[in-house]
């Protein structure tokens, strides 16, 4: 069963902005899918259409087989949304927000109270249940929106930048939590600008750019496409310069730091051998950028080189 099926989806806003230019996307049940793209790419617009918050211009969307034109109630029942912008009633109490949301999904009050307690505890908000939402910190508000999105136990959970502005400790605990509910069978679609987050959580990646899907593949396959990685070496002793190493583009950043481009067919062994041969002692090594990040930048860069940025090309 497909959790999500999108065909030929377009969206032109009232002001003439064409936010989606015909996207096709399918997400299998049980998948953990990253939806990536630069600012203004159309991620939130696509999510808005899936969740009935934005009217589409053309195309079709089905959630677990429920087409949003024919059976929107069926589609909505399967969905939980954590929006990008805070959309809480700031004067309502934390617990009441979650219980009310359950009520809108038709969950009787007793059961709603039980579930609200479960999810508020999971997201470490139970102690704050009697606070009004305004008194929560930004990260707590995001967690509250997650609890609210889960209270009806949706089969497909969509999170639009849930970890923006969340501290590292909470972010890790959110990751653990999302992995857990994904393991329990919830399909998840996640947008984020932290690419290491996408790399560590998601098994599938879709990248949207300027309203078009430019990548839509399993994560492992996407990462394999990355033929060149840049590694950074920290040296024990300062050097004046490095002679060229055959097959590797090596640059000196400062006397104790070197940078080298390594292609996947060569690997790093040869590079280490060459460095040792020259008597250079490497203290530590890291990737210059997260791998997904590097790929992402290349996709955007290559597009610029090809002159696909109309604004640039036109002038």
């Amino acid at each position: 069963m497909r959790a999500l099926q999108i065909h030929g989806l377009t969206k032109t806003y009232g002001n003439g902005v064409q936010a989606l230019k015909g996207i096709d996307l399918e997400v299998e049940e049980g998948e953990f899918c990253a939806l990536l793209g630069p600012n203004g790419a159309g991620k939130t617009t696509a999510i808005g259409i899936m969740t009935s918050l934005v009217n589409k211009t053309a195309g079709s969307v089905a959630i677990f087989g429920h087409d949003i034109d024919q059976d929107v109630i069926g589609a909505k029942s399967c969905l939980g949304l954590v929006p990008q912008e805070i959309n809480l009633n700031l004067f309502e109490k934390v617990q009441s927000i979650v219980v009310t949301q359950a009520g809108y999904y038709g969950i009787p009050r007793r059961q709603a109270l039980e579930r609200a307690e479960r999810y508020l505890r999971e997201l470490k908000l139970w102690d704050r249940r009697d606070d009004i939402a305004r008194n929560l910190s930004g990260g707590m508000k995001r967690r509250l929106m997650i609890a609210r999105a889960l209270v009806h136990e949706p089969r497909l959970l969509i999170l639009d930048e849930p970890t923006a502005g969340v501290d590292i400790e909470i972010r890790r605990s959110m990751w653990r939590f999302l992995r857990k509910i994904n393991d329990q069978g919830t399909t998840i679609i996640l947008t984020t600008h932290y690419l290491e987050e996408a790399e560590s959580l998601c098994r599938h990646v879709a990248i949207i750019d300027e309203g078009r899907i430019i990548v839509n593949d399993p994560m492992s396959q996407v990462l394999r496409k990355l033929s060149v990685e840049t590694l950074v070496f920290n040296l024990a002793e300062a050097v004046d310069g490095v002679a060229a190493i055959d097959g590797y583009a090596v640059r000196m950043i400062d006397p104790t730091t070197l940078e080298a481009d390594v292609t996947s067919d060569r690997g790093v062994n040869g590079l280490f051998a060459a460095l040792s041969e020259r008597g250079l002692r490497v203290v530590s090594m890291r990737n210059k950028a997260n791998r997904l990040e590097e790929l992402f930048m290349r996709l955007v860069d290559s597009k610029e080189e090809r002159g696909e940025h109309t604004a640039v090309a036109g002038r």
Partner: protein
């Protein structure tokens, strides 16, 4: 079957939420109309009214009491829906309802019910205040109750439509100030239209609020400037028209979806 049960839970949730909102901010929702109406009773009813003499065979205080009750019901049922629904749009928690499987008709009915609750609560409060000044024993209790209830529905619906179109806070006070208040003041709250020259009587007949106020007054005092049947007809026509319009707007996503 389960769908119906779920819808009932959803509607109940929304109505309770609206009710809690009214009670939570009672200083904004219940106190101001009580104060304003007390002033009306003291100044118009007591001080000035004692010089006016009889109106349609009733003391002035007794004559305006039903009008003032209706005026507060109208303002408050309208005001509750317009501020609650616009507030939800503005702070975006309206999305809690829009993403849920709750049908549009229930979103509308729930808000209207909230407006009716506030209208009737305030109406009751004003009635209690009125009882300090005059005697009000409805001659036709069922007419009294049905008219006040249906009128509250009309203006709750109107408030909803106002909120749908509103984009900024100014937009939710324009209609009440420039349309609702003048129509209410000219709608026979303070006088019988038989006092007006014939031409202005005719003009007044175009004001729907006149019918509602007079039908309510007929329920309490047994006198009216207009035929009762026509009043009910107008009220039902407004309910059907406004409900259809509000639901169409909501389904189309006007003012709620991009």
């Amino acid at each position: 079957m389960t769908r119906i049960k779920q819808n009932l839970v959803a509607l109940n949730t929304l109505v309770l939420k609206e009710y809690h909102r009214i009670v939570r901010i009672w200083v904004q929702t219940l106190v101001p109309p009580a104060i304003t109406m007390s002033l009306y009773f003291v100044i118009f009813g007591n001080l000035i009214g004692s010089r006016i003499g009889q109106m349609d065979g009733f003391g002035y205080m007794q004559y305006i009491a039903p009008g003032l009750i209706m005026m507060s019901v109208i303002t408050n049922s309208y005001g509750n829906v317009v501020s609650s629904f616009f507030g939800a749009k503005f702070a975006r928690h309206i999305e809690e309802m829009l993403v849920s499987p709750m049908p549009e008709s229930l979103i509308l009915i729930g808000h209207v019910a909230g407006g009716v609750v506030r209208g009737l609560l305030v109406g009751l409060l004003v009635t209690l205040i009125a009882l300090f000044f005059t005697d009000l024993t409805p001659v036709h209790p069922w007419i009294t109750i049905s008219v006040v209830l249906l009128t509250a529905v009309v203006f709750a619906l109107a408030g909803f439509i106002n909120a749908v179109f509103a984009r900024k806070f100014d937009d939710i006070s324009i209609i009440p100030t420039f349309v609702l208040t003048p129509l209410t003041y000219l709608g026979g709250v303070f006088y019988s239209i038989s006092l007006l020259p014939e031409f202005w009587q005719k003009v007044s007949m175009a004001n729907p609020i006149l019918y509602m106020v007079n039908a309510f007054r007929f329920g309490i005092l047994g006198v009216s400037d207009i035929p009762l049947g026509r009043a009910y007809l107008i009220i039902f026509a407004f309910i059907i028209g406004l409900y259809t319009l509000a639901l169409t707007l909501l389904k189309r996503g006007t003012g709620t979806r991009e």
